[in-house]
Every structure is written in structure tokens, then in C-alpha cells.
């Protein structure tokens, strides 16, 4: 039976750990709420953007933007993988990476090469071990990602698409279903899937400043950026939710551990007292 002092030290240390995990849980809870709000705030922009692009493509059937054209042969694909910067978030990143690997294998099976764009430090650490071709990366976006931190990385992929270096572009991130559930989601960014809008009552066209083609490409670029931004924000919400659950489990486990150790400690203490008593009684009897 270990000494009472060691057990007491161990209990104190587990209690400290529990304090940390509980604090992390609470921080994650409040950050998750804020991230969810940002997710909601990003929605109107994407919706308005979809409507405008829908109108624009309908009004201009003759201009085919490279971002809308579907290429028949796919030699290379691009994947934007959104991951977290920090760990302690359960299996969140592992699930996203697993999904990405499945997507990679699927396309490699069809003979396409894969080029990656990594958002988040964890993705960088994972995929660099795989010797995958990484075109661009950005990390340390913090709990409040900004569009301006993503523009560069997204532009690399858009340029690669326009120059024919990639023929499809996918986006993988952790989808926030609810607090308990986050699942990896795969979405195709390029070519932009046809957007269906309400049928316009009569044919009309905009006045353009400058040309329609230029505006359409500019809008499509922003549309894709806004989708990557939404993915980044959603990923933060998922990260916080996953961390919250993971830290709650850790706090509960620490509690269990403390209870068990407290029992052992009590037994050890009583055993020591009994032993001392027996010795005193024994000593007295000998005298």
C-alpha cells in the first residue's frame, strides 16, 4: 500500500489538472457561442451573393466564366482543407483528415493528382508527413478568422484553376451540426455548381459598369472566398464544441479518479492508524 503522503500529492495534482480542464471547457463554451453567431452573420452575404450571381448568369447566357465551366477530363484536383490550430479537440481534426484522405484516394484512383491548400496548423503538420503537394497554406487565424487572412490562399487555388493546374476544387471542413455532433463535410467549390434562382418574370438585363464578364468573375471570386470564410468560421465553432465535450469528459474522468484515490487514501490512513494503535497496545502489553 503506497504511503498517504504520495496519494495526497497525487490527488492535489489531479485536482489541478481538473481545474485546467474545467476552465478550458468553460472558455470553449463561450467561444463556441460567439463562433456560432459569426456563422449566422456570414449567411446573408452568401445568400445575397448567390442571388446576384444567379441573376447574372441568367441574364448573360453567352459569357462562360472559367469558374462555371465543367471540364470533362480531370487531371488534377485541388482540396482546401480547413483544420484547427490547436489540439485537445477530440477526434475533430482526425475525422477531417480521414475524409480528405478518402477523397484523395478516390481521385487518385481515377488517375488525378492532388494539390492541397491547408488552412490551420494541424493540417500542415499532418499533410507534410504525407509528402502531398501543398500549394498554399495559412494558419494561426485565431478564434475570429478574417476574410483578409484567407484571400491569399484562396487566390492561389483560383489562379491554379484558371491556369488549368487543377480542374476541380473541393473544400473539406468540420461541419457544425450541433454541440454534440460535428461531422466532416466535403463540398465542391469549382466549377461553381449551377445556382438556381426564382424564374424572373420577364427578360431584363442590368446596366453594367464595367463589363459583365469582369463583374461576374469578381463576384464568383468573392463568392468562393466567402464560402471558405464560412468554412473557417464553422470550423472554429466545431473546434470549440469538440473541445467543450472533450474537456467535459476529461473533467469528469478527473473527478472519478479523485474519488477513487480518496478512497485509497482513507484506507491507507486508517490502516496506518490501526497499525500505530496495535503497536502502542502491543508495546504497552510488553511493558
Amino acid at each position: 500500500m503506497p504511503g498517504t503522503k504520495e496519494i495526497r500529492a497525487k490527488i492535489a495534482s489531479v485536482k489541478n489538472t481538473q481545474k485546467i480542464t474545467r476552465a478550458m471547457q468553460m472558455v470553449a463554451t463561450s467561444k463556441m457561442r460567439r463562433a456560432q453567431e459569426r456563422m449566422r452573420a456570414a449567411r446573408p452575404y452568401a445568400e445575397k451573393m448567390r442571388t446576384v450571381i444567379g441573376h447574372l448568369t441568367e441574364a448573360n447566357p453567352d459569357y462562360r466564366s472559367p469558374y462555371l465551366q465543367v471540364r470533362d477530363t480531370v487531371r488534377n484536383i485541388g482540396i482546401i482543407v480547413v483544420s484547427t490550430d490547436r489540439g485537445l479537440a477530440g477526434a475533430l481534426n482526425a475525422n477531417v483528415f480521414k475524409q480528405t484522405l478518402m477523397l484523395m484516394r478516390e481521385w487518385q484512383g481515377k488517375g488525378a493528382a492532388v494539390k492541397l491548400c491547408l488552412v490551420g496548423a494541424k493540417g500542415l503538420a499532418f499533410f507534410r508527413r504525407l509528402d502531398a503537394q501543398v500549394l498554399a497554406s495559412t494558419s494561426h487565424l485565431g478564434d475570429r478568422p478574417h476574410v483578409k487572412d484567407l484571400i491569399g490562399a484562396v487566390k492561389v487555388m483560383l489562379d491554379a484553376y484558371r491556369d488549368g493546374e487543377i480542374d476541380r476544387l473541393f473544400l473539406v471542413n468540420a461541419e457544425f451540426v450541433n454541440t454534440m455532433t460535428q461531422r466532416p463535410s466535403v463540398a465542391q467549390l469549382l466549377p461553381v455548381q449551377p445556382i438556381d434562382t426564382e424564374i424572373l418574370a420577364e427578360h431584363w438585363d442590368y446596366l453594367y459598369e464595367p463589363e459583365a464578364a469582369q463583374i461576374l468573375d469578381g463576384l464568383l471570386m468573392r463568392y468562393i472566398e466567402s464560402q471558405v470564410y464560412r468554412a473557417a468560421v464553422e470550423n472554429v465553432a466545431s473546434e470549440m464544441a469538440a473541445r467543450m465535450v472533450a474537456m467535459k469528459a476529461a473533467t469528469d474522468n478527473a473527478g472519478k479518479l479523485i474519488n477513487e484515490m480518496q478512497l485509497i487514501y482513507n484506507k491507507a490512513r486508517q490502516a496506518a492508524i490501526t497499525k500505530e494503535l496495535a503497536e502502542i497496545v502491543g508495546g504497552a502489553a510488553a511493558v
Binding site: R38, A136, V147, V156, Y206, L207, P210, R222
Partner: protein
């Protein structure tokens, strides 16, 4: 739209909704010069330059919003301003793209940092544990 003398204005950016409500007149810095939009304006689509969007609300003062660029869509009954949150220019975007590429290259070249740091830490922890065991053994033998 119920009231023919106003036009509904939505100003949104990727990071949030900025303004939504009726207006009697809207001014925006279009790429070819400032434009004023009155209710029942012809459909128009234009890119915006960085500048201010002014919205005259029916009940009160003019409201000012700064936009870093973006696009404006005008329809007879509503105006949508899709504002950029960041300053955009061809060379700024180019520089950002270059930086993203460089980060990827550096991270791939520099295989030593994070992973090996984590490995080194794990190694250290293992060594410390071994040392402890050795010390305990020595005590037992002594």
C-alpha cells in the same frame, strides 16, 4: 414594396450584415464614379471602389458606411451592397497569394520545427521517467 417612394437597402459583408432598411436615396462609389440611386432605378450592377456609401433614410439623418470595395446590385425596389471587409487591389491580392505560397513552402522545407519539437519533448519525458525508475532501483539496492 409597399412604399413607392423608398427603396430597400441591404449592406452586407462576408463577416456580417451592416445595414438593412428603407431609404429615399443611396449614394455609392462605383468603379466609374459615384452613383446616386433613387427608388425605381433601372437594374444596375457595378463594382465599387473603396469609399463611403451614403444612405438617406426616410425618417432621419443620412447614414454613412465605409466600404473597402465590393459590388452593388440595383433593382427597382431594392439595392444590395456586397461590401469587402478588406482592402482589395490586384497587387495586394497578389502579395497575399505569394505569402500563402511561401508559408506552404517553408513549412514543408522546415521539417524540424513543431513535430520534432513535440518528439523531443516526448523523448525528454521518457528519459525523465527512466531516470526516476533508475533512482528508485538504486535506493532499493542500497
Amino acid at each position: 414594396m409597399a412604399d413607392p417612394h423608398t427603396i430597400h437597402v441591404d449592406i452586407v459583408s462576408a463577416e456580417g450584415e451592416i445595414f438593412s432598411g428603407p431609404a429615399t436615396m443611396v449614394f455609392a462609389p462605383a468603379s466609374q464614379g459615384e452613383i446616386g440611386v433613387a427608388p425605381r432605378h433601372a437594374p444596375l450592377l457595378s463594382m465599387l471602389k473603396p469609399g463611403e456609401v451614403r444612405v438617406q433614410t426616410p425618417e432621419g439623418p443620412e447614414q454613412l458606411f465605409f466600404v473597402g470595395g465590393g459590388a452593388i446590385e440595383v433593382q427597382p425596389t431594392h439595392v444590395t451592397v456586397l461590401a469587402d471587409t478588406a482592402m482589395r487591389a490586384k497587387d495586394i491580392d497578389e502579395a497575399a497569394a505569394l505569402a500563402a505560397k511561401q508559408r506552404a513552402e517553408e513549412a514543408l522545407k522546415d521539417r524540424t520545427d513543431h513535430i520534432s519539437q513535440a518528439e523531443a519533448l516526448a523523448e525528454l519525458a521518457r528519459a525523465a521517467a527512466q531516470l526516476k525508475v533508475l533512482e528508485r532501483l538504486r535506493k532499493l539496492r542500497a
